[in-house]
């Protein structure tokens, strides 16, 4: 399955590194800078690529036996970074960086759940 490839590993590592960065920024009482928002947007783009690859994989090869749940997670995953970015832009304080940090901690969990669901394929 495509979600078990190197792209997922790269996404998880990038998200965790950014999570550490955003949480540090929040701890130092900094509002999200343009670079912070850009970094979150780039992570969102990386996640979007991962989701598109996963959707293409659905029509080309084995499907996870729980396709509905898989699709639900795909929608959640692709929407996650944009929603966090939207809220963080409304919050130009340290709390904006905390929102981005939490989002970057949850994203790896979503990717791991996608991998778990994808690994269970019907006979």
């Amino acid at each position: 399955m495509p979600v078990n490839g190197p792209l997922s590993v790269a996404t998880i590592i990038a998200a965790l590194l950014l999570a550490a960065w955003f949480l540090l920024r929040a701890a130092l009482d900094r509002a999200p800078s343009r670079a912070d928002l850009l970094a979150a947007a780039l992570l969102g783009a990386l996640v979007a690529v991962l989701v598109v690859v996963a959707v293409v994989g659905l029509f080309d090869g084995t499907r996870p036996s729980d396709t509905a749940t898989f699709a639900g997670y795909l929608i959640t995953t692709i929407a996650f970074a944009p929603v966090a970015l939207y809220l963080a832009r409304m919050e130009p304080t340290r709390w904006g960086n905390l929102i981005l940090g939490i989002a970057c901690l949850v994203l790896p969990v979503l990717v791991l759940r996608l991998q778990q669901i994808a690994s269970v394929t019907g006979a």
Binding site: T69, V83, L87, M90, E91, W95, I99, I102, A103, V106
Partner: protein, 143 residues
């Protein structure tokens, strides 16, 4: 009579700062708990009806808390206060029962074992939520 302007200002702060972080986290839990309950009830409700109904209740509580934080004002605060209180009672009661009586809870809910499946965030969240609501309680205007 409290000064309307002062009260509104205090309530508006509910939605900003840490309030917006809470909105985000509650939104995530509203989605995950509701989706989980939906899948459980839709596919194998008969296996553990009690656990799945509690899942649905948890989902509703998180949705209400998210809505309360998004609405803000005295109405939003009241909604959030009610749902955070139910949430706290829920995670404590369900958490205790799920450890004491494994038979009644064969399948997990968000609140099982005090939310250990979700990094214990469901246990911490109502305390943070109630503290935030208490900090932003409407005050009498200084006249």
């Amino acid at each position: 009579m409290p000064d309307a302007k002062t009260t509104r200002h205090a309530d508006a702060a509910l939605r900003t700062g840490l309030g917006r972080v809470l909105l985000f986290v509650y939104g995530v839990f509203a989605l995950s708990a509701s989706a989980r309950a939906g899948v459980q009830i839709g596919t194998h409700f008969a296996e553990a009806p009690l656990a799945y109904l509690l899942s649905a209740l948890a989902g509703l509580v998180y949705v209400a808390a998210t809505a309360g934080l998004a609405i803000g004002g005295s109405r939003g605060r009241r909604i959030a206060l009610t749902s955070c209180t139910i949430e706290l009672l829920g995670v404590l009661i369900v958490g205790t029962l799920s450890i004491a009586d494994r038979v009644a809870f064969p399948d997990d809910t968000v609140w099982s074992r005090f939310g250990s499946g979700y990094g214990y965030v469901p246990l911490v969240l109502p305390f943070v939520g109630l503290w935030w609501l208490w900090r932003h309680r409407p005050r009498q205007a200084v006249s």
